[in-house]
């Protein structure tokens, strides 16, 4: 039986530690690590080494080499460094390698050494060069802090959303601080720095001196400082060989320790094991390692979520493994397999040695129509890699045509975007594309495009009708759509123009357009309206009152009502008002005036083209039975019964109906027989009916 405690060593009075090898590194390093810039990513992420960084004494011809290994030392990438001198390396939370150059330019590489992008930390940094740099992590992402040659700090708390902050000056700072670190408190990044025996905290606005509680006296300089991964704790190493451990807020001391080693340590870091309540600071010198622990206290340990784990696998291009994990965990497709396939596809489109067709086919074969996979996202990635044709091919697999539109617009395939938007049935999307096209194309081409897309055209017309009348006119002109152009001018003649002459001019344009459209009817009607408008104006001048904008009918009625019979007749002749209409019009107007004498004269002026029943009706509407009866006698036999019923002469109506032997008329009269007064009449009708049936 093994002795489990054999390799445990005592640590202080009550604790033990042991050292054992988890695994051996697979790498085959030729240089010593001390000659390299090294950066290891958190959570067992990759390790980056920059060999042969710039040494002033070395010849420039030997270029440094950037190597990336997995945490276990498997080589992932190796490339010759061709850019400027690098001051610092670090990994972002997304496992992107940030290389901070002396000139303040930060180059970003992927896990596999693929160059992603670069950005600059600003002019001030460029001028004064980078003295030192740190990559740090916050809940928002990863940040970069720079100490420049002018002993000023510049930082960006999130390189994904680059906002540069130049920190305030530290008063009296003449040389570089002996040590510094970034802190993150209340969601704001600070810098803690040591100058001689003093500590300063820099935030956006101010520089304030701070003192750690319970710090032993006699310190003349701080040699190292270390902040824990969660920014909760801080450790300080002084020139007296004394270690202070406390909260990063500098409000509380956890413990202190005097190691009696005055040499500056090479490195000092916080370490803790998962779920362990013990924390310790590890201090390393050239040949010595020291672990300093403190009393137990609860801390939180945030686990890697399964999503982050999958992300990490995807980043390492271990797609099959990731998929197996998803399947094993029975993750819903959208969160699991689909997402990984989509990542795979995004990787696939970057393989420049494979033809567009092959890539598109391979992707479609694997993805098919897996739910949750967005072909437009993959296409966007292809476009990002400069493969526009591939992007278009991939978009064709996107079932939702609306989703294709934004990328097509970005790729300047606006016309294709327009058809896709129309296909989607989303008019708003169509409108968005239209506005794009309008800015992108010249007017002629824009109109031409619209012409081929009726749905877009009507949409645009609708908009123009309300907002851009002139454009609407141009659209019709372009299409030789004379009919609509005519309508346009008609509308303008009463909606846009106020003066009579302006209105007549608009009507003239309308008439011309209608002629061109071979719509003679509309042209003639428009010309009539021009004449009428002018005439109405004249009537207003001569007679006073209101005529403009009345219909022809109402104009004549107004004249009759105003006693201008002659003019009314003249107008009726000029505009060829049919006799029937004129008779109805005069009849109604004279009855309204209750000018019964004139009405009778009018009725006798010639044979009425509308018969005399209307006279009876209109008189009854004015409740003049006396006058109505006059006309009832003149009503022809066909409508006699109706006329008699109108004036309330049921008995005579019955006689006429019986005389006519007309069943419908008999029924009609019968329906008017109400009450006892008409009882005799009703009897008479029934008798006549019976007699008729006998025959």
């Amino acid at each position: 039986m093994d002795c489990y405690t054999a390799n445990w060593n005592p640590l202080g009075d009550s604790a033990f530690y042991r050292k054992y090898e988890l695994y051996s590194m697979d790498w085959d390093l030729k240089e010593e690590l001390r000659d390299c810039l090294v950066a290891a990513a958190p959570y067992g992420g990759p390790i980056a080494l920059l060999r042969n960084p710039w040494r002033k004494e070395k010849v420039a011809s030997i270029r440094p080499v950037l190597e990336i290994y997995s945490a276990s030392g498997l080589p992932l990438a190796s490339l010759l460094w061709k850019s400027g001198p690098v001051v610092s390396l670090g990994w972002s939370a997304e496992e992107e390698l940030l290389c901070v150059q002396e000139d303040g330019v930060v180059l970003v590489y992927g896990l596999h050494g693929d160059f992603r992008r670069h950005f600059s930390m600003g002019n001030e940094v460029l001028q004064n060069r980078v003295l030192d740099a740190r990559i740090f992590h916050t809940e928002f992402g990863s940040g970069v802090a720079i100490l420049t040659g002018a002993h000023r700090f510049t930082l960006s708390a999130n390189v994904g959303d680059l906002k540069l902050r130049r920190m305030p000056e530290v008063p009296g700072l003449q040389s570089a601080p002996s040590c510094w670190t970034t802190l993150c408190q209340d969601r704001v990044a600070h810098i803690l720095l040591a100058v001689g025996p003093d500590l300063y905290l820099l935030d956006h606005a101010a520089c304030s001196a701070v003192t750690p509680p319970g710090l032993a006296p006699g310190v003349s300089s701080f040699l190292q400082m270390a902040v824990s991964f969660t920014y909760r704790h801080l450790a300080l190493f002084t020139d007296t060989g004394y270690i202070w451990m406390g909260t990063a807020s500098l409000k509380e001391k956890l413990c202190e320790f005097n190691c009696n080693i005055r040499a500056p340590p090479k490195q000092m870091v916080w370490c803790s094991r998962p779920r362990s309540k013990e924390r310790a600071v590890v201090v390393a010198w050239e040949r010595r390692l020291m672990v300093v622990g403190d009393a137990p206290e609860s801390i939180q340990y945030k686990q890697l979520t399964i999503q982050v784990l999958l992300d990490r696998l995807v980043l390492r291009r271990l797609y099959p493994l990731a998929i197996q994990i998803c399947e094993y965990l029975r993750l819903p497709e959208v969160q699991g397999v689909s997402r990984i396939l989509a990542h795979w596809a995004c990787y696939k489109v970057q393989q420049k040695d494979v033809s567009d067709e092959d890539v598109a086919r391979a992707i479609n074969q694997k993805l098919g129509d897996t739910p949750g996979v967005s072909y437009s996202d993959i296409a966007a990635r292809a476009y990002g890699c400069g493969r526009t044709e591939l992007a278009i091919k991939l978009l064709e697999y996107e079932p939702r045509s609306g989703e294709q539109v934004p990328l097509l617009l970005k790729m300047k395939r606006s016309k294709l975007a327009l058809s896709k938007a129309i296909e989607s049935g989303d008019t708003d999307l169509v409108f968005t594309v239209l506005l794009h096209l309008k800015n992108e194309l010249n007017r002629g081409d824009f109109f031409m495009t619209l012409r081929n897309q009726p749905m877009a055209l009507s949409l645009y017309r609708q908009f123009c009708k309300h907002q851009e009348l002139e454009t609407l006119k141009d659209l019709y002109n372009q299409d030789d759509n004379h009919q609509e152009l005519g309508s346009f001018h008609i509308r303008a003649s009463y909606a846009a123009e106020e003066r009579i002459e302006g209105r007549v001019a608009a009507l003239q344009m309308a008439a011309d357009a209608f002629y061109k459209a071979k719509n003679e009817f509309a042209a003639k009607a428009t010309e009539d309206q021009m004449r009428l408008l002018r005439l109405q104006r004249r009537l207003e001048d001569e007679l006073g009152g209101h005529f403009v904008d009345l219909s022809l009918h109402d104009t004549v009625t107004t004249l009759v009502l105003g006693g201008h019979s002659k003019r009314a007749e003249q107008l009726a002749r000029d505009f060829r008002i049919p006799d029937k209409r004129l008779w109805w019009l005069k009849l109604t107007a004279l009855a309204d005036l209750e000018d019964w004498e004139e009405l009778e004269k009018f009725s006798k002026s010639k044979k009425s083209p509308i018969g005399y029943l209307p006279f009876v009706e209109i008189c009854m509407k004015q409740h003049n039975k006396y006058e109505a009866k006059k006309y009832a006698s003149r009503v022809g036999p066909e409508q006699k019964v109706k006329a008699l019923l109108l004036v309330g002469d049921v008995a005579q109506a019955a006689d006429v109906a019986i005389e006519h032997r007309n069943e419908a008329e008999l029924t009609l009269v019968l329906s008017h027989c109400t009450g006892t007064a008409d009882a005799a009449t009703a009897d008479k009708i029934q008798r006549a009916r019976a007699q008729a049936q006998k025959k």
Partner: protein
């Protein structure tokens, strides 16, 4: 009266859920999200509120944007600053934002959306309350509301399960249906595995049947709509109905017990029914006499309230009836109905044309005249050129030249057209037929006739037997078919189509009708396996009208449901009638 449903008729789905949903959303939106404390109606006048924040809940119309912009700009001029929020329902349109931008207020206004698309007006009637759907789509060719219709359908299928049997006819219907299907596929799983509650859905475009919508309504609910205009399920009865000096707003739905019994009745029966009801009510009141104190106490506490309620409703509807009778039983209305029936049956065309001409000459009503002209055109495959010119001339003389635009609209929508001059068509045809075989010539004729969007009403009417043969009087008290909604003269085309398709469970055998409707490519049947649908759900049918439906159509289908043991549910973009359709086409001076 108000014939009961067959005992095996299915229960209607519960729409109160939709109502609750809409109410809760609105309260949350206004109170929680936007801290609204007072509501005003958006009217075209200056805002009187002195609040620090104005919140507008509006339809995404350019007119509304202009109004909001003018308010904001007026505030700016007055040196006043406040917050402005615009909530668009059912969605925001890019064009609206553009208008705000062009008016220079985009930065001052924040926008939000309320995706509200279904308003339950009654137990069997859902409305999208989008009257502009009709003009925008069928006249302007603007498809902006299709998405809203698709969202509404999607909401229904998430609430009431998938629809195992789908039928549809019309261009807009087809497009909406396809987009809806696509959406359902994308959001797979939501309805998957659900038991369908509604067995059939039938969608149709308003332009498949304009004729029915243009007829005068004579069933009570339709007649009330034609006479007083029902808005959002309620009507304002003016002093002539209430016989007081105030108007009364009355909700018209199944909860009004009196209304529920007469809504689907032919008007000629309604007055008799109401007076009988009044006598019964009086008798119930009269029972008070001779009651002892205990009985009286019971009567007052239990029955009186109900009786009073009924009394109130009765007097409202009797008032409405009187008012309608005053307007409609005049000789004019009889003549009008007679002319309509003549047009539907296709006899005495000359006489009807003269009637219409006189109608125009006498300036009876601009909207009514238009309606008659359109009915003439629709039933006769367009007006003969002479009539087309003369009726239009007369109309312009009566009502002003701006109606040149109205006629242009009506022609574009296919409502008022000119018969293709026979000569030119035959000339081309005979020329062509000399060159090709007869069969090909037939095809070319078809092509020609489909070029001009023509109504083939007469042939359709014959095929579908829309004009019932009447031996003797049609007993309107005991209707025998859906024609009773038009006094027994005409079975609504839309309803007949639905009846026929439901009977066949497809369009099979209706090819000729579909062709005559110019919908050869636009009629579809889509069935899924029915094993999950209960027999009860298979007798529940959702009818969707894109572009609006009339109360007459609703009454006719309710009747059909009672006859066959179905229940119909209606979803419409808006409830419409002939006047609303004509107004949508009319050009009016602003």
């Amino acid at each position: 009266m108000a014939f009961p449903h067959r005992p095996d008729a299915p229960e209607l789905p519960d729409f109160s859920m939709l109502k609750r949903l809409a109410r809760d959303q609105l309260i949350y939106l206004l109170e929680q999200q936007h801290e609204v404390d007072k509501l005003y109606k958006v009217e075209n006048k200056p805002a009187l509120s002195s609040n620090e924040q104005l919140c507008f809940l509006v339809r995404p119309r350019i007119k509304n944007m202009r109004y909001i912009a003018s308010l904001v700009n007026a505030d700016k001029l007055a040196g006043r600053t406040r917050k402005y929020k615009v909530i668009f329902s059912p969605q925001k349109f890019h064009a609206c934002e553009m208008v705000l931008e062009e008016e220079g207020v985009y930065g001052d206004v924040s926008c939000d959306e309320w995706a509200f698309s279904l308003l339950p007006l009654d137990v069997d009637l859902l409305s999208m309350e989008l009257p502009e759907f009709f003009r925008d789509y069928f006249l302007e060719g603007d498809q902006r509301w299709i998405n809203t219709a698709v969202q509404a359908l999607h909401l229904l299928s998430t609430l009431y399960g998938p629809f195992p049997n789908c039928y549809g006819i019309g261009r807009c219907t087809k497009m909406s249906y396809e987009l809806w299907r696509k959406l359902e596929e994308e959001e797979d799983g939501e309805t998957k595995g659900r038991r369908p509650e509604i067995g059939h859905i039938f969608l149709l475009d308003r332009d498949v049947d304009f004729v029915t919508a243009l007829c005068s309504q004579v069933v009570y609910e339709g007649l009330v709509d034609d006479t007083f205009r029902i808005k959002c399920g309620s009507v304002d009865f003016g002093p002539e109905v209430t016989s007081s000096d105030r108007s009364l707003k009355v909700l018209l739905n199944a909860e009004d017990k009196v209304f529920n019994e007469i809504r689907n009745e032919h008007f000629s029966n309604v007055f008799g029914f109401l007076s009988q009801k009044a006598r019964n009510l009086q008798a119930q009141y009269d029972r008070r006499r001779g009651m002892d104190i205990k009985q009286m106490k019971n009567f007052v506490s239990q029955e009186l309230k109900g009786l009073k309620q009924e009394h109130r409703l009765l007097s409202v509807h009797i008032g409405a009836c009187e008012s309608i009778m005053k307007k409609k039983t005049k000789q004019d209305f009889q003549e009008l109905i007679k002319t309509e029936h003549a047009l539907l049956e296709g006899f005495n065309i000359r006489e009807s044309t003269s009637y219409i001409e006189e109608h125009i000459d006498r300036q009876v009503s601009p909207i009514e005249s238009l309606r008659l002209m359109c009915l003439l055109s629709l039933t006769e495959n367009g007006l003969i050129p002479k009539d087309y010119r003369s009726l239009k001339t007369q109309y312009l003389q009566s009502y002003g030249p701006e109606h040149l635009l109205t006629f242009s609209n009506l022609r574009r929508a296919g409502l008022l057209t000119e018969q293709a001059p026979g000569d030119t068509l035959t000339a081309v045809e005979s020329k062509v037929s000399k060159l090709v075989t007869d069969k090909a010539a037939g095809k070319i004729t078809d092509a020609f006739s489909s070029l001009a969007k023509r109504s083939n009403f007469r042939a359709i009417s014959k095929k579908l037997n829309l004009i019932p043969r009447v031996d003797g009087e049609y007993d309107l008290k005991v209707p025998r078919d859906m024609a009773y909604v038009f006094s027994g003269a005409y079975v609504p085309l839309s309803c007949r189509l639905i009846e026929q398709v439901l009977e066949r469970r497809s369009w099979q055998g209706l090819d000729e009708v579909v062709r005559l409707l110019n919908c050869s490519e636009l009629a579809f049947t889509d069935m899924t396996k029915e094993d999950k649908a209960s027999s009860e759900s298979l007798r529940l049918i959702l009818v969707v009208f894109l572009g609006g439906c009339t109360f007459s159509e609703i009454s006719a289908l309710r009747f059909l449901g009672r006859e066959k043991g179905y229940r119909f549910i209606f979803l419409t973009t808006a409830v419409t009638n002939s006047a609303r359709l004509m107004e949508a086409m009319s050009e009016v001076k602003a």
